[in-house]
Assembly symmetry: C2
């Protein structure tokens, strides 16, 4: 089973690495980072640089594709090589997935039209404008299309996906292996429960 994680400049690294840490533990899985231009790909901060060896053409038939989000998503919304590759591989994937604003890229490529999907909480309206049906939910399955909410939600998505692919027991073993027993020090991780003025300030800044 080949799992392709798409990287592009100014991606959000936890979007990709949360699922990577889970999915590399799937028995028989081969995880590959793939980019339009192989080489060093920098994250949104420009601090982290990840060496990507595979081009899109090198990975024509992944079983699973995962698209992370991040500020650089804005540069990936035009039809071009990445969209063409996503549409082509989607014809044979078992699962087509995204984390955070990665779903905007999938939607812009035409893969989420009329489908229930989610995204970063500040990007849900935009997701709707690209033809998806936005759902406020941490992980959304619509047939083989699996989308996750913001950044850290990729861990939850990947564990749910691991369960579908390899069964509950394997997914539970992976969860125990990464000691994923989250205990956030604050209850501020969703716009429903974070302090209202903080949510409003972030909405203003993003608008």
């Amino acid at each position: 089973m080949q799992i392709a994680i798409v990287l592009y400049d100014r991606f959000t690294v936890l979007d990709a690495i949360g699922p990577y840490q889970v999915l590399t533990n799937l028995p028989g899985a081969e995880v590959t980072f793939v980019a339009e231009r192989p080489g060093l790909i920098a994250d949104e901060e420009g601090i982290l640089k990840l060496e990507v060896e595979a081009s899109l053409a090198d990975v024509p038939h992944p079983d699973v594709v995962l698209v992370p989000g991040g500020p650089g998503q804005n540069d990936q919304m035009e039809d071009g090589p990445l969209h063409g590759w996503l549409r082509a591989v989607d014809e044979t994937t078992t699962w087509t997935t995204s984390v955070c604003t990665g779903s905007l890229i999938l939607a812009a490529a035409g893969l989420l039209t009329g489908r229930r999907a989610t995204s970063y909480w500040l990007a849900l309206d935009e997701l709707g404008r690209y033809g998806a049906i936005p759902v406020t939910q941490r992980v959304v399955f619509d047939e083989k299309y699996v989308t996750a909410a913001g950044v850290s939600s990729g861990i939850d998505m990947a564990l749910a996906l691991a369960g579908r692919i390899a069964g509950d027991r394997t997914a539970q073993a992976i969860q125990l292996g990464i000691e994923y027993d989250p205990q956030p020090p604050y209850d501020a991780g969703s716009p429903d429960r974070a302090p209202a003025d903080l949510v409003a300030a972030m909405r203003r800044r993003s608008g």
Copy 2:
């Protein structure tokens, strides 16, 4: 405020990247990856390769140091350049921290002697053998020494640390920014609650 994240071959990438994603959002923070030998550092899978530009000598006075864990931790237990650097920087750090088996490295370097600390659930006994007082807790603060349990716990630690450094409101904004509202699909992330036979199997394999 300079935050140094130490990398070494066969580290566990989520140990480093969970905190990285949180701490890069701290106002005024400069996060630097540092390694004994700069260049491409491969994770435990050998799939992910991260470009590290700074050597230990390049970062003599970080305010915060973070040591991740991973299978490669076994190669970092002898006294040598990394231990010497950790002891030297610890003299002036504000926070000396670790995730997962990174605490074994701190302990082997002599920095956790007689201190309450935690580690990956399968490494707590070993932590005790290196002179720390092992605590079964997700994040342990003992003065400026902050240790986290396995892999994913680095996110919780980094948010708690962000609160201490920059106040609750900033930490809450970071939490909302990474939409950290965890909803694991299973309740299997700690040895207390995972299926007992799974815990036993993992203990056998690690023993």
